[in-house]
Each structure stands twice: as structure tokens, then as C-alpha cells.
Amino acid sequence: MANLSASDDYFRFFGLDQQFQIDLSALDRAYLAVQREVHPDRHARGSDSEKRIAMQMAILSNTALQTLKNPITRGLYLCKLHGVDARLETNTAMPTAFLMKQMDWRESLDEHAEDLSSLEVLVEEVNQSKQETLTEVIQAIDGAKNYERAAELLRGLLFIDKFAIELDDAISALL
């Protein structure tokens, strides 16, 4: 059951259990159910207060959706709910092995920027690494409830994600 007094908990806002692994189609259904009620188009003839409140709720549900849909922001949000700040701006320390792998990838991208098949092999590798890290995040959050560990993994995922976007850009430049 949704609890709206707790609009600071996006999971409860959509009536979902507070965990990392969520049913994305349930999220989608809950989002649409909420939007059907609060979207400003539904209140076009309402009083100004009604319009303002509708807009605030529509914004809240959009923000909640965006946060929960993406696994990285969802994970960071769970960490925050449990009092763990990932300190993304200040904490950039990463394990050496992780940094080495990142450097390898970057070199690979620079060397094969014009070679589609090599880049596609690299995409596979990056995706696999992302999946493995996500599996670890699931264990850290839903299993061990170790949010410090999860925050560390998620910081790494942000790097991986950023690289995946650059890689994607390089590939689409070749298409």
C-alpha cells in the first residue's frame, strides 16, 4: 500500500518493497497509475491550488521513476536511505585492479576507434563487467545489507557506465 506521507521514500511512494532487485514492469504500472491521477492535464480546469499540487506530485512521480528505473541511481538511492553517502564528488579512490582495467579499456578504444568488430568485442567485455558488478550489488544490498560495500561498487559502476557511453558514441560515429 502506498504511503504518501513518506514522499521521501520513492519505493513506498509506488507501493514497492525497498530492495535493489525490483520488478520493472510493476514500477512502470505504478508510475502510470499515479500519472493518471496527478498529471497536470488531468487538472487543467482545477483551481490554482489543485494545479500546483498536481504539478508537484507529477514532478515527484517523475523523479521517483527516474531514480528507481536506472540500477545505479536506484542503488545509490538505497544507500542514501540507509545513511550511506557515496560522496561521488570527493571520493574517487578505486581499487588498483579496477583502475588498470579501465586503462586497458581506454587504450583499446583509442587503438581500435576505427575498427567496428574490435569495438563490439569491447562492448561485450564492458557489458559483462557491468553485469558482474550488478550481481555483486544485489548481494551487497539485498543479501548482506552492506551499504558501504554497495556504494563502493556503484561508484565503480558509474565509471563503467561512462565508458560504455563513450564506446557507444565511438560505434555510432562509425555507423
Binding site: M1, A2, L4, F14, G15, A26, R29, A30, L32, A33, V34, Q35, R36, E37, V38, H39, P40, D41, R42, A44, R45, G46, S47, D48, S49, E50, I53, A54, M55, M57, A58, I59, N62, T63, L65, Q66, D168, S172, L175
Partner: protein
Amino acid sequence: MALLQISEPGKSLAPHQRRIAVGIDLGTTNSLVAIVKDALPKVLPDSKGRELLPSVVRYLPNGQTQAGFEALESVVSDPKNTIVSVKRFMGRGIVDVDHIENAPYDFVDEPGMLKLRTVAGDKSPIEVSAEILARLRQLAEDSVNDEIVGAVITVPAYFDDAQRQATKDAAKLAGIEVLRLLNEPTAAAIAYGLDNATEGIYAVYDLGGGTFDISILRMSRGVFEVLSTGGDSALGGDDFDHRLYCWVIEQAKLPPLSLQDHRKLLLSCTHAKEQLSHNPLARVHETLTDGTVVNVGISQAQFFEITQNLVAKTLVAVKKALRDASLKPEEVKGVVMVGGATRMPHVQRAVGDLFGSKPLNNLNPDQVVALGAAMQADLLAGNQSKDDEWLLLDVIPLSLGVETMGGLVEKIIPRNTPIPVARAQDFTTFKDGQTALAIQVVQGERELAQYCRSLGRFELRGIPPMAAGAARIRVTFQVDADGLLSVSAMEQGSGVQASIDIKPSYGLTDAEITRMLQDGFASAKVDLLARSLREEQVNARRLLDAVQTALNSDQSLLSDQERVAVEQEMKILKEVLNEETESAILRKAVDHAAKATDEFAQRRMNASIQKALAGKSVAEI
């Protein structure tokens, strides 16, 4: 949900209860107005049966204006005072308009938006557009013989904030209450989707007179969800005309032409282009003012070749939009073609080839946007029964950001984020005792601010003096359902929440609108005082209606005491509404009554969400 039947005859509101709202397609070349009548959207023709109003305005020395067909007649003879394709200049400065040297007007560069020098004075593109909108409003009022409660006005999906704001200002100037600014491809999707009971992923390819949009939508069970959008707000059928014009000049080895001859030959080229959509050959045949005869033949193949790069440009945007939605062309179930320029066979073919399917064009591409806008207007006016209502979820087309040190852009709201949306960002001062701060807001995808569109400087004043870096100013960027930005700021570091004044450098202030109205906005000779009183009366009635509806359905959310208090407030407002002739006093009463019902509105909203989510879980079991 019955998608085919827009409203069942038995369930629709009694005639006197229907509120008439119109859909307006304010196009680069032509504009249209449509309404929903007997559950069907219909374009309203003028007294001569013509459905398209040319988007042309002519200024006469006596300050009078002509618009539409009447103005179109003077395009060649009076080029400087006869404004065509004004949409290209909306919300734009001189530097923002590509190939501005090809336009025959005398421009006046003004901060934010250019002006056009005419025989009747300098005119902002907003004023010119308002003339067109005022004609459409008149046409609609004459045609339905009733008052129009408001309009949904369409804009290219790829319009930025300044262009949207300019469109809304133009409507305000024309005395039109804007129910919603609706993206053109989304409007087309409504007309198309509701008509065909469509489900799945669809693309809308909209090549108009001066703008190009591509939107990718997911349509399902009465929900239109825009997944991504892209385009070029300065690419359209006009560019194909211009390309052909340049080619003819080259072929006929003509010297630079006078303004009159330019317009004359360009019209001839437009005509030839249209011919080439149905015939393998066309001829540009024109006698210039000095007697020179231009006579150049062109084949379809030649025309396709010289304009192929324009078509290719649209395809790049299509691919980008697909990528943004993480989709491949083959995952798209169908492509809807919108805009007169999509009649060109090579455009149809190129789009068909990319998606591997035949484009859908069974609705008139000139009308489909206006029809969709009329349906949305009817919905917003409250004429649909709740079970038949559809939901539209749109996105912001271009990323919003702020300029940081070194001219870099820090993105605050990325493109394709669903709207309405708000994001907060903290800023601080860098000098001791600093009380003001300027934020440069930009819109676009580039990393350097100079390559993005500047939306202007927002000045924050009234920051309490503190040591450098001690102030924490939380700036909230909010984009509403019209895609319009508003910025608010709060100082939080000091613990005292000081509200901060913000002044955007674009958009018209109420004072400017008033001045424009006084400055002989020709087609709206109105008594300003009467107009502002009327606006307040409309507000008051809307509040009374809304609260009455709320009391009828959700009285249980209030205690007896609360209910009596709300009823008392409404009674007072009703009395003020009936007796008051001073708009400022009425406004005060409306504000007071609105405040008194805030809590009730919030409770109703919460209850409706609870109910919606509870219903969902029951359905799942």
C-alpha cells in the same frame, strides 16, 4: 477503453455544458484551427471554405494589418512589410537564424529576440504571430458562434524554451487562454493513435514548412508516452524551395535579384516543387520585372538529387532519436508522416527504407496536427468522460544546463526527461559579502556553452552577506507540462531561508504585453481594464467550479467544521464575484479563497493516488 469511439453519444455533456476549446496549429507556412464537434475533430474553414490560413501578415502605413490570403497577395509587391515564415524568428536573435541574409526584411537586433522593421513600426515576431492567432480565434468564434474557453497550441517538439515562451506570449497577446502547448508530433500521434486504436512503438516524422521533428512514442491502452524526440527547428519545406531557387538561378545564370523578383521566383519554385510530387517533370516559368523571362525545366530525379542532403539531414536526427530510445529501426511498428513536405516522394522513400516499412499517411498531413490539438483541447476542457480519457506523457527535447567556469556546461536536466520535472542545484558565493549571483542558463547538447542556445542570465539578488563560500543557494529549475522553464532560488547555508529575486532576460513581462496591446495591436482593440477584470472573473468561476466538484465527490475527506469553513469561503468569493468591478480586489479574494482550500486539494490528490495504487494491486492478484 474504447479508443475508436471518442465519446459515446449518450454520455457526452449536454450542449450548454460543453466548453468549447480549440486546437491551433501555428505553422511556418500555414495555420489551422480545429474543434471537436459531435465527437469528431474537424478543421474549421473560413467563410470561403478554405481550411489553411497562410501564416502571412502584412503591415500597412496606417497601422492596420492584413493576414492570411489577403496578405499573401502582397508578398511580391510589398516584401518588406509582408512577413512570411515568421515562426523561424520566434524566440531568436539575428545570430541564431541561419541564412538570415536571404530574408527580405530589415531586422532590428534586440537582446533576446530580433524585431522586423515595417512601415507600421518595429514588430516583434511575437506580435506578428499574435496577428495570425487573433484571426484564427475570430474564425473559430464566428464558426461556433460561442465563446472559446481556451486553446491548445502546437509547437515543434524541438522548440527550445525561448521559442515556446514566445509562442505562449503571442497567444496571450491575441487574448487566447493557452490550455497547453503541445508538441506537434505528439498531437499527430493523438489524432492517429485514437483513430486507429494503435498499440506499440511508433515514430512520428514531421517535416513542416520550416521545422523538422522526429518523435518516438510508445502507445498503449490510452497512454501516449514519448520515449525520445529530436529534430531541427530550422529545417523544413522552405529549404527545399530555396535549394531549387538557387539551382534555377544557377541554371539561368541570373544576376542577384531584387526583392520583388526574389519573392516571385521563389513562389514559382514552390509551385514547381509541389508539381514534382506528382509529375516526373516541372517547369519554373516566370517573367521578371525587367522583362527577363526565366524558363527552366527540372526532372524529379534532378530535384531529388539537389535536395538529397536535406533529406539525409533529417535521417541523422531520426537515427539519433532511435538511439536515445535504445531502439532499432525494425522495432518500430510504424512511421506516421506529418507535414506538407512529407508529400515529396523521395522523403517518403528515404523514411520507408530506413524503417523497412511503408510510412503511414492515411490522415491528411496538413491537418493531422490541428486535429490532434483539437482532441487534446477537448480533453483539457473537460468534455470527455473519465473512462475515455487518454494520458499524454511528453519529454523535454533539449538538455538544460548552466554555464560553469571556463564556459563549460553542466547539465541539470538531460534531454528526453519526462515533464513536468524539477531539479535542484546548489551554488555558492566566491567573494566575502557577495549579495548577488548570475546564472547563465543554456539549452542544448554541446559541452561548450557558446555552442548551446543561451536562455539568458538569471540574476539572484538579496543573498545575505556572508564569507565567501558560506552561502548555500539552492536553485531549482522547473520545467512544466508546456515545456517551459521557471527558476527559483533559496539561500539555505545561513539557516534562514531567504527568498531570492530572479529576473530572466527573456519572455515578455505583463507590462510589455500591456504596452504592445496599447501600441495598436490592430486586431485586438480591447479595453485593458475590462480584459483584466474578465480574466479574474474567469479565475474566480474556475475556482468555485473546482471546489464545488471537489465537495460533491470528496466531502468525506473534510470534517464538518472544515467543510463549513470551505463553504463559507466560497460564499464570500461568490459575493465578491457578483459585485466587484475592480480586478485587483477580485484577485485578492480569489487568492484568499484558494489558500483556504489548499489542504483540501492536497488531501484529494493523496486519496486519488492511494486509490489508483490500491486498484492496481487488486488487479494484480
